[in-house]
Structure formats: structure tokens, C-alpha cells
Symmetry: C2
Subunit: 417 residues, 2 copies
């Protein structure tokens, strides 16, 4: 079944927000065995929206929209959708009653404007909204299916998981499962990785293999389809083993980026990490605490943007800062050692560098970052160079710092004492 995702909203066309809904929905649908072949974004313009829906219904079996189900003037998705399907909108009594009860409960009168949320495509199945006001809908007509989800990400996700996918499974049957595993390769360029894997890339079908350049690493994505998760993994396994054989083990970790891998490793070894961040400004802390339960392996991060904070909180020596500046191997070393002592953690990682766009105090290029890892095996300092804008440098430095911790743990086989 071919799916097209359509996100609506002029704010997306103005570039005000990044389209995270499309990304989430695509991943969710792929995991359930649906192939997303197109993603389109249109603004809140009735004619263009209707035409985009007609184009989508012509090239996909299922069109899923997100956005424009509310009660404001810009909420025109259901009208455009019905028009593109050649169906009329009807007033759904049960939804009207639900809305009346809801607005009575919060002490607002039911207005004609709010009533917009009670109109749906004729014959549509209503998708409940457990965490918001506007319901979604799903309708099949002339062999094509049109599904409307709300725009707020949280409402969209809950509705897709609880109501859309069960409806789709009932209607279209089990589509199997698509699983992806990403292996990150650090320390090689894309052409080098490609030449090592060329024959595998040429004969791929199920699983497929793709290479993607990421800030700080090359991602090798292996994607397989199976009747269930186990079959998909069985198909992937020999290919992954072959890739790992060809690319030296220590540069390869199985995951999207390094921080979930590092988290797993810390948990497994019962180690606790902390950080001292200058140029990454809290990004390592943010990434390390992205997952629930992170408090078991991450103690915290001390963001010291100022020299005096580096000195007073982390104990970096004034002479070090004066002689070598804040962006130096020596400062990185003392920051990591200071943080490890401060937090009483097994491991500490530090970053200090020039994120840009300006140059460093002694004319250094932006992108120069020192990373230090400190632990029972001593402190190791790395001088790194990142390309790109401020955001690239910061992301690259954070990923690389976490990779250096992971490498340190393996190199010295660090375990809880």
C-alpha cells in the first residue's frame, strides 16, 4: 500500500517551523509495513490544498493529512479533502453533542465557529482525540483512502497510535513490518565506506542498504521487510554482520547517532557519566537525558561558558586559562578532571571550542574543539575540527564527545569497581 503524507499549514511554507510531524508519521507508517512514497506540504489556501489532495489521491492508495482540523478560519482541511474526494461534508450529531458537553464543561458557549469541528466527510469513521478537541476521520471511496489527523504533534501521535493504525489494520490487514538499523561509522568518508560495501550496495533488495553523511559520522542504514519483527531482523542479521566484518569493529556502533549507544553501554557496565560543557552549552546534557531513566547513568553537566566559572566551579587553574586560553587541550583536561571530582562520577567528558561564526581569541578558525575524557585510566584529550555553521559544530562536537567516551570505555575496558 502506497501512502502519501500531506502536512498543511502556511507556517511550514514560510519556514517558521520544521516539519516534525511528517518525519514521525513516516517512521510510524514504515514500522507498520506501509511504504511512504511522497510527502507534500501545502498552505491554508483552498484551491492549492484541494489540488494537492487530488494529485496525492492519483498517485497513492492512502493519503494521510495532518493539520487544519480546528475551529479557526484557517482550518480548511476537511472541506478541501471532501471536495477532492467528491464527497460532501455532513454534520455528525454525536460529535456535536461531545463538543457541547466539552465546552459546557470548560464554561464556554458553543458557537457556530466551534461547530466546524462537528462536520466530517460523508461515511467517514471518526478518529477520537483523547488529548485535544478536534476529532480526526478516515474514509474510503472509489478505492482511495483519505485520513485526517490533527496538527498538534502530541494529538496527532496519540490519535495515529490509538485509532488510526487499528482502523487501518482492520481495513487493509497486517502489512508486515519494516525495520531499520543504522550503523554509525566514524573516521571514514562516504566514498571510502561505499567502496568497502560496493557489491552489497549493488545487489541489495531486501534488506536495502543506504549511506548517509551525518554531522560527525557516516550512517549505514540497513532496512528490511518481514512478516513480523523477527523475520525482518533475520533478514538483516547476515548483512549487518558482513558490514561489520568489512568495517573495523571499533568505528562501528549499531544505532542512530552515538548517544543511545553510549547510554546502553553505561547502563550495562553500571557506570555513571558527567560532563563539563563550554561550546556545546548543555547539548551533551540534553542528549544524554533525552530518554527516560537517564538518571541511572548520567549525573549532570556543568555548563561553564565563562572563564571564572571554569575556574571557580570546575577548578581550572587561572594560569592554565591565561597561558593556553580557554580553548586548549590543557583547559579541556582540567575541565573534565574537575567535573569528575565535582560530580563524583566514574567518567567525565568536557568540550571547549569555537562554535563560530567568529574566530577564536588568537585567530583560530571556528570549528576547533578540544574534547577530554577522564576516568580511572587517566585523562585523554582530543583536538577536533568540525565544518559547518554554529549548529553543525555544536552537534558534531557533542556527538564526537560522546563517541570519545564510548571509545574510552572500550579501549580501557572500564567497569564499575
Amino acid at each position: 500500500m502506497i501512502v502519501e503524507i500531506i502536512t498543511t499549514g502556511t507556517e511550514l511554507l514560510l519556514g517558521e517551523i520544521v516539519n516534525e510531524n511528517s518525519c514521525w508519521l513516516a517512521r510510524f507508517l514504515n514500522e507498520h509495513g506501509y511504504t511512504v512514497a511522497y510527502m507534500t506540504t501545502v498552505g491554508d489556501n483552498p484551491d492549492r490544498m484541494k489540488n494537492a489532495f487530488i494529485t496525492a489521491l492519483g498517485r497513492a492508495d492512502i493519503v494521510i493529512t495532518s493539520g487544519g482540523l480546528g475551529s479557526t478560519l484557517g482550518d480548511i482541511t476537511k472541506k478541501a479533502g471532501a471536495s477532492a474526494m467528491g464527497l460532501s461534508l455532513v454534520h455528525v450529531e454525536s460529535e456535536y453533542k461531545r463538543l457541547c458537553a466539552h465546552y459546557e464543561h470548560i464554561g464556554r458557549p458553543m458557537s457556530p465557529q466551534l461547530d466546524r469541528q462537528a462536520w466530517f466527510c460523508k461515511g467517514a469513521f471518526i478518529l477520537k482525540n483523547d488529548v485535544g478537541t478536534a476529532s480526526g476521520s478516515a474514509v474510503t471511496y472509489n478505492g482511495k483512502t483519505l485520513i485526517h489527523l490533527p496538527g498538534p504533534p502530541f494529538e496527532m501521535k496519540i490519535m495515529a497510535q490509538r485509532y488510526m493504525m487499528p482502523w487501518m489494520e482492520k481495513r487493509f490487514g497486517n502489512q508486515g513490518i519494516i525495520r531499520s538499523v543504522v550503523l554509525s561509522v566514524t573516521g571514514m568518508g562516504e566514498p571510502q565506506v561505499e567502496s568497502l560495501l560496493m557489491d552489497l550496495l549493488k545487489k541489495q533488495s531486501n534488506p536495502t542498504i543506504a549511506l548517509l553523511a551525518r554531522p560527525g559520522f557516516i550512517a549505514v542504514r540497513v532496512t528490511a521487510w518481514g512478516k513480523d519483527g523477527e523475520e525482518a531482523l533475520d533478514r538483516m542479521e547476515p548483512v549487518i554482520r558482513e558490514i561489520e566484518k568489512r568495517i573495523p569493529e571499533h568505528t562501528t556502533v549499531r544505532e542512530q547517532g552515538i548517544h543511545p549507544v553510549l547510554a546502553e553501554e553505561l547502563k550495562k557496565r553500571e557506570l555513571v557519566l558527567c560532563a563539563a560543557e563550554s561550546c556545546t552549552g548543555g547539548l551533551i546534557g540534553k542528549l544524554m537525558t533525552d530518554y527516560p531513566g537517564s538518571s541511572s547513568y548520567f549525573k549532570g553537566s556543568c555548563v561553564t561558558y565563562w572563564n571564572e566559572a571554569k575556574e571557580h566551579i570546575l577548578g581550572v587553574k587561572k594560569e592554565t586559562l591565561d597561558k593556553y586560553t580557554a580553548v586548549s587541550a590543557e583547559t579541556a583536561r582540567e575541565m573534565a578532571e574537575g567535573a569528575r571530582k565535582l560530580y563524583g562520577a566514574h567518567l567525565a567528558v568536557s568540550t571547549t571550542g569555537y562554535a563560530g561564526p567568529g574566530q577564536g581569541e588568537r585567530g583560530e578558525d571556528p570549528g576547533l574543539v578540544y574534547i577530554a575524557v577522564s576516568g580511572e585510566a587517566g585523562t585523554r584529550v582530543y583536538k577536533e575540527k568540525f565544518l559547518g555553521d554554529r549548529n553543525n559544530v555544536r552537534m558534531g562536537a557533542a556527538e564526537k564527545a560522546m563517541y570519545r567516551v564510548w571509545q574510552y570505555i572500550h579501549l580501557f575496558n572500564i567497569r564499575r569497581q
Copy 2:
């Protein structure tokens, strides 16, 4: 001139990466007076890509693609583009020579595979790539324009700024400028804001006004077109003043989210902020250091995920943690006061809460967050409740915390002593 942006790459359809290129390009084009009407994403499938290009060339004047210009097997964008335009690909000698020189310089032989990067649409203008290998191109034929940009974000941005836009301006003339200002409204729901602005929303043309629900606030976007930036701002000004009159001043700040506004305010007043973060895990630090020059108003953030770190580094009392737990008004207060002392800053903000998905240690719902702001006017603590998943809660809490600092500065008219 109507533009369609097409991003290519199967990784986008698998939901592996968020499409930040589309967002950046859309904003960039809007700022230069071009209307982006559609954004499409297709995978590395020759037929689907060609058809998506044909559809786009039918409904837009200019089609701009990003991705697929490299030398790997998946790089098929130029071929699909030429085919959709009805043009052939030709070998460009000057590009071939440039590539030979480049690969000789890095000590790699020029292979037939790498030669893919020397082929372009007949008659195309070559867009130089100053920070990568693959050049882009721009060609007009039968009244339609097709532009190819590379996929890596940094390469795409530099090429768009340095070579694409000058070429477009030469070809299409000055398109004027579109400017957007976003006013953030905290403490009201979307329907409430809409009813206050209903007549303005109904009669809008230039500028246009749109409402958008964001984590922690409602964004009111005012967008105007003008011959130049001044004219656009002149058109916006009366509308913005009217909106500010209708929505109580203290809940309105002019910008996208609060952190750039807070940064401006701190700079203007020569104040220095620091943070103590628990549930936000470094996000406040990350956001406050997103812009260059942030070291003048942000000293750092102390991420204390563990109780003992709260105690030993920030000086939160053991009795407080035992009696009230780590997620309490009392702990938030002591964290902020401790951080202010630790960093020697004018202001400190702290967060402590349950980001979820699990419940708190005494059965509290996820989403409960205490925020404290400490400064010369004493410490104020706020109990907040955020809806959504872990990411929503953390983003909402970080934004709200920075808003509370901004509010504190205004409420007590804090200035550097």
C-alpha cells in the same frame, strides 16, 4: 513567482531525519520575496522522482531540489530532472577538470563513478560548491526553471546564498521582501486570542495574520510584503500595535519563542544569567547559547540530575530533599539560589520536574515542573504543568523558565547595579 521545493532521499520517507533543508530554504526564499506554495519529498526512485518533478513543473514557476547530486548509486536527481524537463545531460569539461584537480589534490584517482558529478542539464548554469565536491545547477526551459542544490545542509545553504539567489535576482529581478514577526502570547488559549483579534483576522491581506499553538505559548504571526524591508515593516507596524493593545502587554513579546527575546533583554540591561537544570537536562543552556556572543549574558548552567549533585554542587539542603523530594517548590528555590551564588550571576533560573513518561516518586503526574527565578528582588517559585510527551514537557519547561526570567526582570525592573 511560485516556487516548489523538492527534497529527495529515502531517509526522509523512512522518517529517519527531520527535513530541515525544506524549512531553511522556505524561509530563505520568503525573505527574498518568493512564494513557496508546495514542498514535496520523494525517495531515490527514478520513476517517482521524475513524476514528482513533472507535477511540480506543472504547478510552479521555479522548482528547487535538494539532494542527490553526489557520486553514489543513489544520486539520481540530475538524471530525473533532465528527463522531466525534456533535456539531455551533457558532460561539462570545466567541471570535469575541476573534479580531476580536486581528487588529485586529495590523492584519489578520478573514477567513472566520481565522473557523475560532471554531468549537467544541457544549457544549465553551474552553481559552485565552495564547501563540498558536487556542484549545483540552474536551467530555464519552456518558461520553467529547475534548480538543483546539494543535500548536506551546510553545502546547500552556502550555495543558495552565494550563487543561487544572485542568479535568480539576475534572471527574475528583485521580488521585494516578505517579513514575518511573531508575537508570543503566554497564558491564553488559541480561541481566546482569536476572539480578541477576530475582525483583524477577517480583513487581513497585507500583512496577513495567523495563529499557531506552540509548546507553552500561542504565536501570532504577522507577515507583510514590501518592496524592501522598511516598507514591509511599515505595513506591519500598525497591525502589531493594534494586537499589542488588545492583548495585555505583559503576556506579549515580539519573537519566535522566548529565548532570543530574553537574550536581547539581558544584553540591553547588562545582566548575566545562569541556570540550574534538572528535568530540562541542559536544554536551557543549549537554547541560551544558540546565538554567537551569548557569553556576554549567559554564564552557564549546572545540570544536576542526581540529588547528591543538587546537594554538593548547588547546596540544596539534605532535609529539603528528604522532606519535600527533589521535585518541589523548596528544591527549585534552593537550586536557583545555589546556582546564583555558584556562578556569581545577577539572575538564576532553575527547573525540577517529572518529564515522563513515568510518574513521580509520590505518584505525581508527568509534566509537573517547578521553576524558580532568583535575583536581587528575591526568589519566586512557580508550579507548572505541561502536557505532551517527554520532549514536549522538556521544551515547554525550558521555554516557560526563560519566560519567567523575562517576566521577573520586567516585574521588578532589574538593572545592573
